[in-house]
Symmetry: D2
């Protein structure tokens, strides 16, 4: 079950020429990369740049992905990728996403990614303490 939190984030992405397919639509694989762009920005805003986390010996490995495609996006579209953490434990962390065409209320795409912290060599590891506290605080806020 998801937790409700206060801390969400929106990342602006413009669809690149290289990212559309021969139908002129944003290639379905690239939505997953957009999720990562937003996730990186969330981590940067609410904790620290992912680069620093990785350089300290952590890797946030993807273990599960779900994507629902609702409406297409096109070359040069201005999109916004909304992201928020929806569940976490000591080593696990999951995010939910919704991609919007700027100014439109209905998402083009929704999704979820589940992750596990490892030592970069595949061994599961507790997430950085500061990140865990940040998440717990965001989660608490709503219930108080």
């Amino acid at each position: 079950m998801d937790r409700r939190i206060t801390g969400n984030h929106r990342t602006a992405v413009k669809v690149r020429y290289s990212e559309v397919d021969r139908m002129g639509l944003l290639y379905h694989v690239n939505y997953l990369e957009y999720f990562e762009l937003a996730r990186s920005d969330w981590v940067r805003e609410y904790y620290r740049p992912y680069l620093e986390i990785e350089d300290e010996g952590y890797a946030l490995v993807v273990i599960e992905v779900n994507i629902n495609y609702i409406k297409p996006a096109f070359y040069d579209d201005n999109l916004e990728v909304e992201v928020f953490p929806c569940d976490w434990g000591h080593s696990r962390l999951a995010f939910r996403y919704a991609i919007f065409r700027k100014g439109e209320p209905e998402p083009l795409c929704t999704g979820k990614t589940s992750h596990c912290f490892t030592d970069g060599k595949g061994k599961v590891k507790r997430m950085p303490k500061g990140l865990k506290q940040r998440l717990d605080n965001l989660g608490k806020k709503l219930n108080s």
Copy 2:
């Protein structure tokens, strides 16, 4: 619920240098592209090249994706992507996948993609008759 069929296919893929991340692992987004490579090969083998299908005014749009990542793959690994259709209707078609490192019995990754046939402009359309018959025949075989 999935249908059991007889017609599966394996596509060989070698992990490209451009496809691994700074941890040296196959970037999680690229598994989804590998699914497509295998799906294309399945369609080619059991029906016709996807190019011809698209050029006749059909598009096989992705509507849902699920991926489970089990073990990492590395640069230059020889992988095999297994694919088979697991469910279909008049306009919908879903595939299941498992990616193996060559010679290993356990998959590195499993997944499912669900699709809908459209006219290339977003309007849902029945799939080509020949493909529907092929699928029904593959499905029937097992039950007879």
Copy 3:
């Protein structure tokens, strides 16, 4: 020989996780995509969105590429891609590029791409009149 013009443009790009290789460096192929991002922005600023140009039956086909790699870029780097048209005729158009790490005076990479306008099916075609005038005006300014 290059023409000197007044109209250059800088596009900000942040290096994505998916764009670095297993050495942690921006993968050499992606510089060429960054050139395109800057070129699109130039065309948008000095003429019209490339999307509109293409939808009116023009294609700006790449015919030659040169890239010189000087210093590496890394994940999460803030880069700026400078671009300006350096030569043009009735159907041909060439751009020069320099990629900088934000705040650094020396480029990480320089390059040039040469293009030809076609009708989208390979037949050479004169560039849109408005673009030609814009280019000629930018070129004239400097000499006057």
Copy 4:
């Protein structure tokens, strides 16, 4: 000036759906990735897998790229990428390429990439002795 050698190599590549643009053509950036696929295969065939070279503390850094685009390639095309080393020193190594549609005599694209061996942290380093000998032998063969 190029050296003439005996050892060239051809790598088969099938154009992926993800690699074509909204004109239906192989996106110009991807030719450069195809060059790398062929170069990797050359290194594997005439010396050792590039993975082993990199894991021993060498990096073959790209310092210059030239590409000439002659005719387009399309989705699902069967291409062959020809590659041979055209010049080398103690630390530098350059390759030439030609990409053919299978069965056609005229190339779709030609190119050259120049490289420098480093220690993976940017410091120039002599190439592995065995590779240097292999290159010198290939070069000699022709002149004898």
